[in-house]
């Protein structure tokens, strides 16, 4: 046991004396949360709108006022010629153009049908969908008020309720994702690099010749990264609750438990990488390409898994972060308890066992 503690202390020295790495380990999660929280956002705010309104009547003015009052829109220009529209979009001066037909209110009153054309810059399809959706809602609202005034006999009013995230904040979606990514990065990548570094410098040989058991060497390597990861877990959670305003709606205890489990999964994955590679560069490439990229792309952090082709959905099943992110969403956003994430927990436990068994086998084979 004393042997082990001396060893753990040595590993802490390695980390703390390398100030740059230390800074990255501690600072990266904080920077990432702030970046995702404030800079990189999929929410659409203050979209620039141009208006082509040749009617200038009660109805069009009402709709324009509503658009301008909305926090998603900002009316920047009134144009008078439909030829200008293309010009404005080419210069990127607007994301949405609203075109009213001539004699809008009159047509509406007499025929009961009037037309508005919404033209959006769809070079970014997500933004285009979002802004046209918002504009549609404003128009629909106006239609509602008209109906009430004119007393139409049949009326269907959809009552939309957005569960768990009524304000549609992007933070609700990415906080679990960033958590998964950071823990994977620090545990898997840093552990594998730390073990491979000793192979590279030759100290691993000296350790293997010594009476200390290989499993001890590995466990001692994992302890500091476990501690650093726990620290990061705390900082990310605190930041997301107090700075980004994402609440922990469900069981905090469950959230911490499943996070610790995920840390262990990532550590064992890092161990596996270290048994497969011999240089720090290779270890870094493998962790980066095989673990980090799929975590970002396939775990549902950014792109919804439901929209992927079926074979890719299967592929995403073998990514530990997918299950972790699912569990965190359930606990943090949907407010569920531990009993609701038994499936995810089970899969993560199974993965840990598989990774550890393979790496221990590999590790022993290497000694031959």
């Amino acid at each position: 046991m004393k042997q082990f503690l001396t060893f753990v202390q040595k590993e802490f020295h390695h980390i703390f004396r390398d100030h740059r790495t230390m800074l990255i380990l501690i600072g990266m999660p904080i920077v990432e949360i702030i970046l995702f929280g404030f800079a990189i956002t999929t929410e659409v705010k203050d979209s620039k709108v141009v208006i082509l309104d040749s009617s200038h009547d009660v109805a069009t003015r009402h709709i324009i006022d509503e658009i301008n009052a909305n926090k998603y829109f900002n009316v920047v220009e009134y144009i008078h010629n439909s030829n200008d529209i293309q010009h404005i979009f080419q210069k990127g001066e607007a994301t949405l153009a609203v075109v009213f037909e001539d004699h809008f209110y009159e047509t509406l009153l007499h025929t009961g049908k009037a037309q508005i054309q919404l033209i959006a810059d769809a070079s970014d399809p997500n933004t285009a969908t979002t802004v046209t959706y918002y504009a549609n809602r404003i128009i629909a609202d106006y239609q509602q008020t008209l109906m009430v005034q004119n007393n139409v006999p049949y009326q269907i009013t959809p009552n939309v309720k957005l569960l768990y995230n009524p304000e549609m904040k992007g933070a609700y979606n990415f906080v679990p994702g960033v958590l998964g990514m950071i823990l994977m990065l620090i545990c898997a990548m840093m552990t594998s690099i730390a073990i491979v570094r000793e192979k590279e410098t030759g100290t691993m040989e000296v350790l293997l010749v010594s009476p200390i058991k290989p499993i001890m060497i590995i466990l001692a390597k994992m302890v500091p990264y476990f501690v650093v990861s726990c620290f990061n877990l705390c900082s990310v959670l605190l930041l997301s609750v107090y700075v980004l305003g994402v609440p922990v709606a469900g069981s905090l205890f469950g959230l911490i438990l499943v996070s610790l489990l995920f840390i262990v999964v990532s550590l064992s994955l890092g161990l596996l990488v270290s048994t497969l590679t011999n240089t720090q560069l290779a270890a870094m490439l493998v962790s980066g390409m095989v673990f980090l990229l799929p975590v970002i792309l396939l775990s549902g952090m950014i792109f919804p898994i439901e929209n992927m082709p079926v074979w890719m959905q299967w592929l995403s099943d073998i990514i530990p972060a997918k299950w972790y992110i699912q569990a965190v969403k359930a606990l943090m956003i949907q407010g569920l308890g531990i009993m609701n994430i038994l499936k995810e927990t089970g899969i993560l436990v199974l993965m840990t066992i598989i990774f550890i068994v393979i790496s221990l086998k590999k590790f022993n084979v290497r000694l031959e």
């Binding site: 042997q3 020295h13 390695h14 390398d18 410098t201 010594s210 009476p211």
Partner: protein, 258 residues
């Protein structure tokens, strides 16, 4: 400078390394081909051979890092095949790559390795003082190892490898890249260790160093082609120095060096 040569002063004692017909195959390739030799307690045994001759593989087997395909070996009284853990407890090892931690201080390195071999704190403290004094390292106690000059590092690495007073110490090309003065100081440390009863098993590329050994074995293509004291070998091969002996034997090699 007085010529450094081993003088026969100690009584012949028990055997610390006994190897009979040791073989290691990797697939169809026989890296070590039926080698047999004994090393006595307190002896400095030189293990020579060109790159790829099988030196490192043989040494890894003796250290318990690699299992022999066939044959028997005993190190420090323990069977290398069945009792590798006991073997490991009783040997020291210094690899050709630098084997200390650059980002640990001098005393932390000493304490770490002493701790790994299960030494008690009090003993570690006392012996550290003695060692630092002997090496004139008192001032460098709290210095990170990476800022020491190479010669210092190698001497420290050797001292650390015998800090737990093992029965046998394995040195894998310990003086690579070190200047002649430091090499001589290094060999003085080796002599001192041998005089204290530690058996020294050393591989080297420097033929002048081979002359410092009690006995040397020369491996060619996985077999031991010659084994005797440097003087006897020189007479046998009618050579002026060990380098000529080595050249004559190495010429027979058919294996590519790596």
């Amino acid at each position: 400078m007085e010529k450094l040569q081993y003088k026969e002063t100690r009584p012949r004692l028990e055997k610390e390394i006994e190897v009979t017909d040791l073989v290691k195959r990797f697939g169809h390739f026989t890296a070590v081909d039926h080698i047999s030799f004994d090393v006595e307690k307190g002896e400095i045994f030189g293990f020579l051979g060109a790159n790829g001759a099988g030196k490192t593989t043989a040494m890894r087997m003796l250290c318990g890092l690699s299992k022999p395909t066939s044959g028997k070996g005993k190190v420090a009284g323990f069977n290398i095949q069945h009792e590798p853990e006991q073997v490991k407890k009783n040997i020291g090892y210094m690899s050709q790559k630098f084997s200390l931690y650059n980002d640990l201080k001098v005393w932390e390195n000493i304490r770490l390795f002493a701790g790994i071999y299960g030494m008690a704190d009090k003993e570690i403290k006392e012996k550290t003082e003695i060692l630092l004094q002997k090496l004139h390292f008192e001032k460098e106690r709290n210095v990170l190892v990476k800022s020491l000059p190479l010669g210092f590092k190698q001497k420290l690495a050797f001292s650390v490898s015998i800090f737990h007073t093992p029965k046998v110490v394995f040195l894998d090309e310990p003086t690579g890249g070190v200047d002649p003065v430091t090499r001589r100081q290094f060999w003085e440390l080796i002599y001192e260790a041998a005089a204290n009863g530690i058996t020294v098993f050393v591989t080297t590329h420097y033929m002048d160093e081979a002359e410092y050994c009690n006995r040397v074995s020369i491996m060619v293509d996985g077999r031991i082609e010659a084994l005797d004291s440097p003087n006897n070998l020189k007479t046998e091969f009618e050579a002026k120095n060990m380098d000529e002996v080595f050249q004559q034997l190495a010429r027979k090699a058919t294996r590519q060096s790596d």
